[in-house]
Symmetry: C2
Subunit: 264 residues, 2 copies
């Protein structure tokens, strides 16, 4: 009962996400440090007013453009992302005709199996309900989303220049991609992906993080809001890639937004 | 093995605290939301440079003065505080000859029993090693710290104007106090304590929180650093109470410090 959030609570969405994660942790899907990482994100989102900023909208547009322009993009998700935005990102993958790859920091067979099942369930749920804005028929939507490969179980590849279990990946996934979307990435892995030479789009609520500063496109936004916004853009004609994209300038806008929160 | 943090890691203290909390959560001592709350604190501490600011030092001085001047102060701790700074706060209680009261947000018999045992163990450990700066003998230190009552099991009282399990407290504890130190407090409970009319000292890394804005003295610092600093002040002649203490001005200093982090 304590987990019911009143409809009019000003921080309803944020609290609902917190309880989703807590339930997933109770099921053994997330490490304790994943909860702590979520808390760090919550703090930054609170500073951003828990809404998508104009800078985040610009970055989401550039992310949509880069992913739509790629021949073989991939969407990489960790545990928190799967819980909070798995369904929306599977829908993005359907619209991009690409794969989604699960990659978790503290890899255990139990967590991998549980999260892969969670994602498969989200894909089934989505197949029954085309997103608002889908102009094809119900059957064609079910076909598109059901066709999305959920990778990660078969860790036959390694990301170059990265040690330990975080390097594990699928040859058919990240290693075959020409653009990658990596929400909530740790700095070392982001650096290794950038080092592979493919365009990297990162979602990170902390505009000061190493991932945020290294990525080609950084969306400073909460991952489930971002995933909904990206899906809505991909349902329309995707925007053109901005060849003069200035990621630092976009990050600066987010930094100023947060600083103003403290300066009143 | 993954939990060993290299001696030279720039964020060693912060990571060590994270692993302490994760271990406590694995033992069932903390709710999942406690981990998320820690993450929020981590984000603010990161913005503060993970060190005690000059503003936090001033506030700690005023906190020491208020607690030393009180006839019957009390130190209230929640689960995260017990794990991160229980021993130091028990030492503060010894130096103030006052009680420490455990009060947790999601009260279950298992968590209460486990955390009370943790605190009792910390008290035993401290009894064997007087803190640096203690000028009495080893025996007199053991006597002082062993005499600290650890309250919380006997929840025979209720904090006025507060609903639910958070209101539970001991008549011999908070309800008998004339000053209260409440690290990591939720806004509703802080408001109710302020409503009781006794001076409230809050430790909160978020200078924008309701607790931070309502307290009589707000120390914007990480709780284990604060607890060590408070103990060191109490080992000396405690400072005089600043009758013109301007808590808002002190909070403003912390806000500016964080804003500058974003403005570079």
């Amino acid at each position: 009962m304590r987990h019911e959030v009143g409809d009019r609570h000003p921080r309803r969405s944020s609290l609902s996400r917190r309880y989703l994660l807590e339930a997933a942790a109770d099921q053994g899907l997330l490490a304790g440090t994943a909860m702590i990482a979520h808390g760090r994100g919550e703090a930054f989102d609170y500073l951003l007013g828990e809404r998508t900023s104009e800078a985040a909208r610009r970055a989401t547009g550039q992310a949509a453009a880069l992913l739509a322009a790629a021949t073989s993009p991939i969407i990489s998700v960790n545990g928190n992302t799967a819980v909070l935005a798995g369904r929306e990102l599977l829908e993005c993958a359907a619209l991009l005709s690409c794969s989604l790859e699960l990659s978790i920091f503290y890899r255990t067979p139990e967590r991998m199996t549980g999260l892969l099942a969670l994602l498969a369930g989200q894909r089934d749920e989505s197949a029954g309900v085309p997103p608002t804005g889908w102009t094809g028929g119900d059957g064609s939507w079910a076909e598109a989303v059901t066709a999305v490969p959920i990778l990660g179980a078969n860790d036959d590849g390694r990301i170059p220049c990265l040690d330990g279990p975080r390097a594990r990946c699928e040859t058919a996934g990240i290693l075959s991609a020409d653009a990658v979307l990596v929400p909530l990435e740790d700095g070392d892995r982001c650096e290794a992906l950038v080092g592979m030479g493919l365009p990297v789009v990162v979602i990170d609520l902390n505009p000061l993080s190493r991932s945020a500063r290294m990525a080609d496109v950084t969306v400073v936004d909460e991952v489930s809001r971002f995933a909904s916004n990206l899906r809505d853009l991909l349902l329309q004609t995707p925007p053109d890639v901005d060849e003069d994209w200035d990621n630092d300038a976009c990050l600066q806008d987010s930094l100023r937004l947060i600083a103003n929160r403290f300066l009143g």
